[in-house]
């Protein structure tokens, strides 16, 4: 943590020593701890990704990585990135920090539950380490049975335990957010005065609360199946392995929206704030979040078009799947319209926001190929799917997380990062990402199956380009890590409102004081920036005194 720049009391200096962090009930500190933990996991998951990509430079066997090690590497990459990184990244790390401040509240509704959620995350991560010590696991992050219930690797039970526990961590965060948003909104903040990030977090929290228990019970049953051979999923015992897939995707498809919805919320805020103008189509964006949350529960079967489930089910699931495309498209158009006639600061944060729109558009459009029945039969379980979900889960969710991290970095740390290096890092990540994953669309449409250690030489050129891209991306992330760490110690002191945001977190100091607000701030339209003026004295924005608490939703 940065040394206290001044004697002033902020959440970082309020209480010292390791215990004041370990036992804190402050949502901001919990958010920061989550962020550190998630970023460390991201590093670990990224190393596994690079190992996998490096192996794929060669079509044949390599001496330094056996088939089994490769299978473990991609399994770990997937499990770490999904369960330890992307699912908690935005809600638990950024959301925890920002949500109560945006509501003008002192904390989330249940601070102790919040801390428990973090410790459950740690226990879950510990279980992943235990799984490695117990011999690892090679099931793929989807844990499809009967492979997962019969594989000789002894790490399966530990990792199932870990994911089960992580599920509860996620449920606790979701419960907290639902109640906080319902009960701790300040006077004057009706549902349609909430920043869109809160709408997104609310929709996310609903999914977390409603879908995660199903995953927990499914993985519990899988563990029971593996240990006691109860036979519910075992075809040899009259069970049905496809049943597992239904239950697994009933959670794991909504889980994709646990990842992408808060990302969309962040982007809505970033685009509006850094365009310095009112968001376009607030209600459409808000309602499309809720629509996506609802649809997310109805489309799980599109992961199983080739599983042999009935043709009718395939048709129904395909039809519902397309309905998700509509709210997603609405959001993209509204973001574009927000840029129109804005006053756009092309800073690092905004570059991540713009990158998101581009990457999410590709991710969404290729979703059409996969939602369509006859093309999905060809593309299912090929690199096309890999590329598609990386565009959505990494290109969109993670890029938004990194964008949000930059957006709130001054608020969290009280320091400004280096803009030049920021833009270079963003550019490298963006270019590297596209080089890595655009080629994988071609690999996939040409029929390269996923999770392959050996492959036909005709695919090698694509793999070379893809691996090259992944190195560029890794360099971008390393640069990002370096300048962010650098800013902690040598960065310029951040003003309260460096970007010109209007939601409540920009009205308290950077970093915020322990209790966030001495007096509950006035709540207006979070996207009405018209009364903000650049204040050269602080290097940030401040409210022009004359306008005061303007509450109209301007610009009609």
């Amino acid at each position: 943590m940065p040394p206290a720049a001044a004697a002033e009391d902020n959440y970082l200096t309020h209480g010292r020593g390791i215990l004041s962090w370990a036992l804190t009930l402050d949502h901001k500190r919990i958010g920061v701890m989550y962020m550190v933990a998630v970023l460390i996991s991201f590093l670990v998951g990224g190393v596994f990704a690079l190992l996998v990509r490096t192996k794929l430079l060669f079509p044949g066997e390599v001496s330094w990585m056996t088939k089994d090690q490769y299978n473990q590497a991609f399994t770990l990459h997937g499990a770490i990135m999904v369960f330890l990184v992307i699912i908690p990244s935005i809600p638990a790390a950024l959301g925890n920090f920002v949500l109560p401040i945006m509501l003008g509240a002192k904390d989330v509704a249940f601070p102790r539950l919040n801390l428990a959620s973090f410790y459950l995350w740690l226990v879950g991560a510990g279980c992943a380490v235990w799984a490695l010590l117990a011999g690892g696991f090679d099931t793929g992050w989807t844990f499809y049975t009967p492979y997962s219930s019969t594989t000789a690797y002894q790490g399966v039970i530990p990792v199932l335990t870990g994911v089960f526990i992580l599920g509860f961590s996620s449920i606790f965060t979701g419960m907290n957010f639902v109640v906080t948003i319902h009960k701790l909104r300040p006077p004057g903040m009706g549902w349609f005065r909430m920043p869109l990030f809160l709408w997104a977090l609310y929709a996310t929290a609903l999914i977390q609360v409603l879908a995660t228990p199903v995953l927990a019970i499914t993985l519990g049953l899988l563990a029971i199946e593996r240990v006691f051979h109860v036979g519910i999923f075992d075809p040899a015992m009259g069970g049905d392995p496809v049943l597992f897939q239904h239950f697994f995707w009933f959670y794991s498809h909504p889980a994709v929206y646990i990842m992408i919805l808060p990302a969309m919320g962040i982007i809505s805020d970033i685009i509006a704030v850094h365009s310095h103008r009112h968001i376009f189509g607030y209600r459409f964006i808000a309602f499309s979040s809720v629509a996506i949350a609802i649809f997310s529960f109805l489309v799980w079967g599109h992961h199983m078009f080739t599983s042999g489930q009935s043709g009718l089910m395939n048709v129904v699931f395909s039809a519902i799947t397309f309905s998700v495309a509509i709210p997603s498209a609405i959001k993209v158009w509204n973001w574009l319209a927000t840029l129109y006639r804005g006053s756009i600061s092309l800073n690092t944060t905004m570059l991540y926001g713009l990158a998101f729109i581009f990457l999410f558009t590709i991710g969404g459009l290729t979703g059409l190929h996969l939602g369509t029945l006859n093309t999905d039969i060809h593309l299912h379980d090929t690199y096309f799917v890999v590329a598609h979900f990386h565009y959505v889960m990494m290109g969109s969710a993670l890029i938004a997380m990194i964008g949000g991290l930059h957006h709130w970095w001054p608020k969290m740390t009280g320091r400004m990062f280096n803009e030049t290096w920021g833009r270079i890092g963003c550019l490298l990540v963006f270019v590297g990402f596209n080089v890595t994953f655009l080629t994988q669309f071609m690999l996939g449409s040409h029929g390269m199956p996923r999770r392959y250690y050996l492959y036909q030489p005709e695919f090698q050129i694509y793999h070379h380009i893809s691996t090259g891209g992944s190195y560029i991306m890794a360099l971008g992330f390393v640069i990002t890590g370096i300048y962010l760490l650098h800013s902690l110690f040598w960065g310029k002191k951040a003003p309260a409102n460096p970007w010109g945001g209007k939601s409540l977190e920009w009205q308290c100091s950077s970093p915020p004081p322990h209790d966030n607000f001495a007096t509950t701030p006035t709540v207006g339209d979070p996207y009405d920036f018209s009364d903000l003026k650049w204040d050269p004295a602080t290097g940030g924005y401040a409210t022009a005194p004359a306008d005061g608490a303007k509450t109209s939703r301007g610009g009609h």
């Binding site: 904390d107 989330v108 109640v179």
Partner: protein, 323 residues
């Protein structure tokens, strides 16, 4: 903090339950009011909403299992109809009554907590705890009885779980006698079968050589010598395990017991958690933590306990009362 001019109750008015409208600056007045809430009402409403959200996750938790149950029953209706006979409806019925009564005492506990009556509160909590213990004791007898009869999950349904040990334990003179008794007059009615079962010592398992009677789909391609050997072993097994005596037993009967143990087991875990919670509430009640102003934990504990009961009220007919 008392200087904060805002959060009035209006912002939460639509959810207000009307408990304790105490206005502002209540932190001094109410030691239990946590720093980030403005009024006891807000704190109470938040806690209650939180509990309801938690109960929603609980319902989905069990909901997944209920869905699993529905799918299995849809696939094997005959299994459920048949295997349900092996469950003891009387014990299940008593357990249902015990839980309903404990729900009543829990509701009374909340009632007394609201009225600051410490003695009756502790007493009602104690009765509820007694109900929980009673439920588990009865459940314990049901489970052990079924383990004894080998009515268990998976392949073990078709062979004793601890086959090896039983072989060692066996006293040779016992087995043949009961065997003869069993094989001569197999009564096919389920009731009689389970009645006969009680007489049968576990030692009978000694005749069982190996996992024999495969459920449908278990048997791979047939006709090999080993398969024939298995058929022989199977005959031996049937003699040893009365539920396998029954030619009417549908294939995949073990599936019923798999889902039975999963669901009642998970419910049992919730009862155990509930007991811990009631103990904690009793401890707090005896120390006088709860009164008319602050009885949130008792209220929420009550909600939890009711949902545990409610789940059992669904489980009971779904497993015990199929026929």
């Amino acid at each position: 903090m008392s200087a904060i001019p805002t959060p009035t109750h209006d912002a939460h008015g639509h959810d207000a339950h009307g408990h304790g409208e105490h206005g502002h600056g209540d932190h001094g007045k109410y030691p239990f009011l946590r720093h980030h809430f403005d009024t006891p009402a807000q704190q109470f409403d938040s806690a209650k909403l939180g509990m309801w959200v938690f109960l929603a996750t609980e319902i989905l938790f069990f909901g997944a299992l209920f869905a699993m149950y529905a799918i299995l029953r849809f696939k094997h209706p005959e299994v459920f109809e048949y295997a349900s006979h092996y469950l003891d409806t009387i014990m299940g019925g008593i357990n249902t009554c015990v839980l309903i009564l404990s729900s009543l005492t829990m509701a009374m506990a909340v009632y007394f907590a609201q009225r600051s009556k410490k003695g009756p509160l502790v007493f009602c909590l104690f009765l509820t705890l007694l109900g929980a213990v009673g439920f588990l004791v009865i459940k314990y007898f049901e489970y052990t009885h079924k383990f004894h009869e080998n009515l268990v999950w998976g392949a073990s349904f078709y062979k004793p779980v601890d086959e090896e040990e039983r072989v060692i334990v066996t006293t040779p003179h016992q087995a043949p006698a009961t065997l003869a008794e069993q094989s001569t007059a197999p009564d096919l009615s389920p009731g009689a079968a389970s009645a006969a079962l009680v007489k049968l010592p576990a030692a009978d398992a000694s005749v069982v050589k190996k996992a024999a009677l495969g459920p449908g789909g278990l048997a791979p391609a047939s006709g090999s010598p080993e398969q024939e050997a298995e058929v022989k072993a199977e005959e031996a097994t049937e003699k040893a395990l009365p539920h396998l005596l029954d030619p009417k037993m549908p294939v995949n009967t073990h599936q019923f017991f798999a889902i039975y143990y999963c669901m009642t087991g998970l419910h049992g875990i919730h009862v155990v958690i509930g007991m811990g919670m009631i103990l904690w509430l009793m401890w707090g009640a005896m120390r006088g933590r709860y009164d008319g102003n602050y009885y949130t934990p008792v209220d929420l504990g009550g909600l939890y306990w009711h949902i545990v009961d409610l789940i059992w009220i669904f489980l009971f007919p779904l497993f015990y009362l199929i026929h």
